[in-house]
Amino acid sequence: MKNTATDVLPAEGGLGNEPLLAVDDLHVEFVTRGGLVKAVNGVSYTLQPGETLAVLGESGSGKSVTAQAIMGILDMPPARIPKGEIRFRGTDLLKLPEDAKTQIRGQRIAMIFQDALSALNPVFTVGWQIGEMFRVHRGMSKRDAEKKAVELMDRVRIPAAKARVHDYPHQFSGGMRQRIMIAMSIALDPEVLIADEPTTALDVTVQAQIMELLAELQRESNMGLILITHDLGVVADVADKIAVMYAGRIVENAPVFDIYRHPAHPYSKGLLESIPRVDLKGQELYAIKGLPPNLLNMPTGCAFHPRCPYRQDNCVTDVPELYEISPVRNSACHYWREVLDGTDG
């Protein structure tokens, strides 16, 4: 018998022991002309309702690809997922039929993109684009959908929402466009919101407004928030826990206070030390030497070893497992004890 979409959809209500969202040993590869690019190599993380998980990493670390895999918006091919599970309320999204995925994507798991101008359609009014969520997913009439769009624009505090609902994206400033993106993403009260560098293109003053808005919306609805960023300041402000990614792997995950106080992986430690600090003015900044690896030609053993001050011989040959430091902390470094103690390698 063929399953209908509603049969396989994850239940609502209580969670039991299962986290809201669990990424488990996820692998994503891209088939390119240059060869097989392993963009994500065994990433695992969990998210609870109301929790903020920050995924920190440089370009090419796989942080956005992981998010796209959760949303199910990876282009396959060239991408493929050879291994891993993405469980939403206990149901593996990767095994769901396409029609069931559509029920989840955008409704129960929503996403905000970095560049709001290119994520919005320039030839439709913003009211039409926000209303589309209600017309497509809720079958509302045009007029009701527009009413809902105005309500949402009010909720994300766009001034004079009623007058601006018929404006086009180019008529809004960068911060207002990002608010429109947020309005679209929260339209159907998602349980998980993925924000991929939501403030990178914005000024700090506008960034503060947007982050405050996200925190408020999260408090109201108890959403789980995955914040993808490379900004250590934003992370310190809002995150509950952090997953640091490097070359397609999580190299450290920890509660936010632990990692800023005592990082347990040389890469997170290097990142934190390279922030300009007041007491170090006039001195040379600590810089992680070398370059991030080419994903087509990854170093053997630990991917960070060519840049690592703690490197020993076995780092070149053995891939470090994700060692458990405490029940809530892991580090993928053979020498995490030395890193944690602060003794130099």
Binding site: S173, M176, D203, A208, A236, E284, L285, A287
Partner: protein
């Protein structure tokens, strides 16, 4: 080398208005974008002046004016006492040699069809007196070495380099003509976090080595603080506060500076619940139609009637040690108060 007292760049009442026109056949001017509207400052030899502000405040137009890529509507830019805004022809060409620029995006500011040697050597084509033809390749290799690249890579193309390495190529090109002033327009914002520190260290080393003066434009306030001797805060085409880095960061007097500093996320989660946050409402007004009096008054929590009628001048205010343009200026440490 510490900055000296010798002024090498003197900017006075610099104004740049871009006309807004209407009509196709018969163009009429209906207004102007006041991108830079009366900016004055000095730059000393060997000094770094940081320029911060939101997008649209006129930072990049200011950079173009200093490079003489745009002609000012009024005001003067004097380099070593000579006015670049009035200079023409050969004189302008000689003056331009002295001011070079490092661009923001190392991916689009290097010509993909030129080799690194051609890119860094191109300034010598325009100013052949700096390096005679025979010695050019050697000069370029020296420059590559100075910025920490392999001199043997002179015949490679930009796509063969990473972002951080490309920014080094851009810096080498800026150094080629041995300028005294380098304008860095967001030089690290397009780079990965782990690479930014490398490039900042390089800029500081070069400053010491060649006694360069930098105008450092950036939106990352912690980077600006690290590298700058003095900082200018711009809002809607005007400098609203100007002072030493410690004065601006520890004792900001202008409400806009205070709001800007408090909006910067602190990379330390300790005490994040009690941190003071001044969140400005809305966006900056349009530079085509700036508010009367003080331009910040529409977003300011201190605004009174006088702010709408009388424009506050950039001057040292009672109780503060540096210049600010606010009728109600008072020092307030927003970063450390918790």
């Amino acid at each position: 080398m510490a900055p000296t007292d010798e002024v090498i760049l003197e900017v006075r009442d610099l104004v740049k208005h871009f006309p807004l026109t209407q009509g196709i056949l018969f163009k009429r001017q209906i207004g102007a974008i006041k991108a830079v509207d009366g900016v004055s400052f000095d730059l000393h030899r060997g000094e770094t002046l940081g320029v911060v502000g939101e997008s649209g405040c006129g930072k990049s137009t200011l950079a173009k004016l200093l490079m003489a890529l745009e002609r000012p509507t009024s005001g003067s830019v004097k380099i070593n006492g000579r006015d670049m805004a009035r200079a023409r022809g050969g004189e302008l060409k000689r003056m331009r040699r002295n001011v070079q620029m490092v661009m923001q995006d190392p991916y689009t500011s290097l010509n993909p069809r030129m080799t690194v040697g051609d890119i860094i050597g191109e300034p010598f084509e325009i100013h052949p007196d700096v390096a005679p033809k025979g010695s050019r390749a050697r000069k370029v290799q020296e420059l590559l070495e100075v910025v920490g690249l392999n001199p043997d890579h002179i015949n490679r193309y930009p796509h063969q380099f990473s972002g951080g390495q490309r920014q080094r190529i851009g810096i080498a090109r800026g150094l080629a003509l041995q300028p005294e002033i380098i304008i860095c327009d967001e030089p690290v914002s397009a780079l990965d976090v782990s690479i930014q520190a490398q490039v900042i260290n390089l800029l500081e080393r070069l400053q010491d080595e060649f006694n360069l003066a930098y105008i450092f434009i950036a939106h990352d306030l912690s980077v600006v603080r690290h590298i700058s001797d003095r900082v200018a805060v711009m809002y809607l085409g005007k400098i609203v506060e100007l002072g030493k880095d410690t004065e601006i960061y520890d004792r900001p007097a202008h409400p806009y500076t205070q709001a800007l500093l408090s909006a910067v996320p602190v990379p330390d989660p300790e005490g994040r619940q009690n941190r003071e946050r001044i969140i400005l409402q809305g966006d900056p007004p349009s530079p085509a139609n700036p508010p009367s009096g003080c331009r910040f008054r529409t977003r300011c929590w201190k605004a009174q009637d006088i702010c709408a009628t009388e424009e506050p001048l950039l001057q040292i205010r009672p109780g503060t040690s540096h210049e600010s343009a606010c009728h109600f200026a008072e020092s307030h440490d927003v970063v450390h108060s918790a």
